[in-house]
C-alpha cells in the first residue's frame, strides 16, 4: 500500500514539475511573441520545450504503470490510457479526412494530445462502469 502511494506521489511530483516548466515556457513564449520580442531561434526552443514537456508527461505516465505495485490499479490505468488513445486517434483520423477534402479547417496538432488527456476521463468513466472504481484517482 505504501509502495502504491509512493508511486502515485512520485507521479504527482514529476507531473507537477513538468507542468511548471510547461506553463512557464508557454505563457512566457506567448507574451514574448505578442510583444514582438521572440526571435525565430527562441520560438523554436520554446516550441520544443512545450512539446517535450508533453512527451515527458507520457514518460511519467509510463513510469506510474511500471512502478505501481497494485495489479488491479495498473490494469485500470492501462485500460483508461488505451481507451483515451482510441478516442483521440479516432477523432484525428476522421478530422484528417474531413480537412483533407477541405470540408473543415485544420487545427493545431497539439489538440490531439489534449483530446487524449480528455479521453483519460472517458476511460475512467468506463472503468467505473465496468469495475466499479475510477482507478488512478484512488
Amino acid at each position: 500500500m505504501t509502495e502504491n502511494l509512493s508511486a502515485m506521489q512520485r507521479y504527482i511530483r514529476r507531473l507537477g514539475g513538468i507542468m511548471v516548466v510547461y506553463a512557464t515556457a508557454l505563457i512566457g513564449g506567448q507574451i514574448a511573441m505578442k510583444a514582438g520580442l521572440l526571435p525565430p531561434m527562441a520560438a523554436i526552443l520554446i516550441a520544443l520545450i512545450c512539446g517535450l514537456c508533453i512527451a515527458l508527461t507520457f514518460f511519467v505516465m509510463g513510469r506510474l504503470m511500471v512502478e505501481n505495485q497494485d495489479e488491479f490499479i495498473r490494469l485500470l490505468f492501462v485500460r483508461q490510457t488505451l481507451i483515451a488513445s482510441g478516442f483521440a486517434l479516432s477523432l484525428a483520423a476522421i478530422h484528417g479526412f474531413l480537412s483533407d477534402f477541405d470540408l473543415i479547417e485544420r487545427i493545431d496538432a497539439y489538440w490531439w494530445p489534449v483530446l487524449f488527456f480528455m479521453g483519460q476521463f472517458i476511460g475512467q468513466v468506463s472503468n467505473r462502469l465496468k469495475y466499479g472504481t475510477w482507478g488512478t484517482m484512488k
Binding site: G96, F101, R106, Y110, P113
Partner: protein, 199 residues
Amino acid sequence: MNDTPPRAMQWCLAAAISSVVSAMALLFLWKSNAIGTTTAYLLAIVPVGLMIFAIVKMFSGAAKQGRASLRYLARMAVIMAFYLITLFMAEHFIEDRGVTGPLAVVLALLPGLSFAGVIWIFGALIVEEQDEFYRLLFVRQGLIATGISFTLAAIWGFLETYNIVDPVAAFWWPTIWCVGIGIGAVANKLKYGTFGEIR
C-alpha cells in the same frame, strides 16, 4: 494440438487479403491514369465482392473461430479494403466531380471512420487474446505507439503555433501510431525476445 485455422476462417482471411491487394492495385492503376474512371468502377466489383464475401463469412461464424490474431488479420484486411474503396469514391466524387454539402461530408467520413476502425480492431485483439503473455505484448505495443504519436503531435503542434512548420492533416497522427505499433513490436523483441503481434 492442431494449429490449422478452421476452414471458414481460412476463406474469410483469403478473401479479405485478396480484397486489399486488388483494391490497392485498382487504386494504383486509376491514380496512374492507366485505366479510366469507368473501367475503375467496373473493376471495383472484384475488391468489393471479395470484401462482402469476407464480411459475410465473418458474420456467419468465422469471426468466432480460430486464434484472436487470425481474426485480427481478417478484420484488418476487411477494414483496409473498405478504406481503399471509400477513399477512391471520396476522391472521385469530391475532388473530380466537385460534390459538396452533406454528401461530401458523408463521403469524407467513410475513409476516416475506417481508419479509426484500425485502432479499435487492435483493441479487440487485446480483449480477445487468451494468452496473457501475448496480451501484455499487444498492450505494450499500443502504449509505445500512443506515446510516440502524441509526442510528435505535441511537438509539431507547438512548432505550428510559432509558425515554424505548416499544419498537416490530422490523419498523420494515427498513421504514425501504426508505425509506432511496429516500433513497439521491436521493443518487445528486444525486451521479451518476440515481436508479439503476429504468431
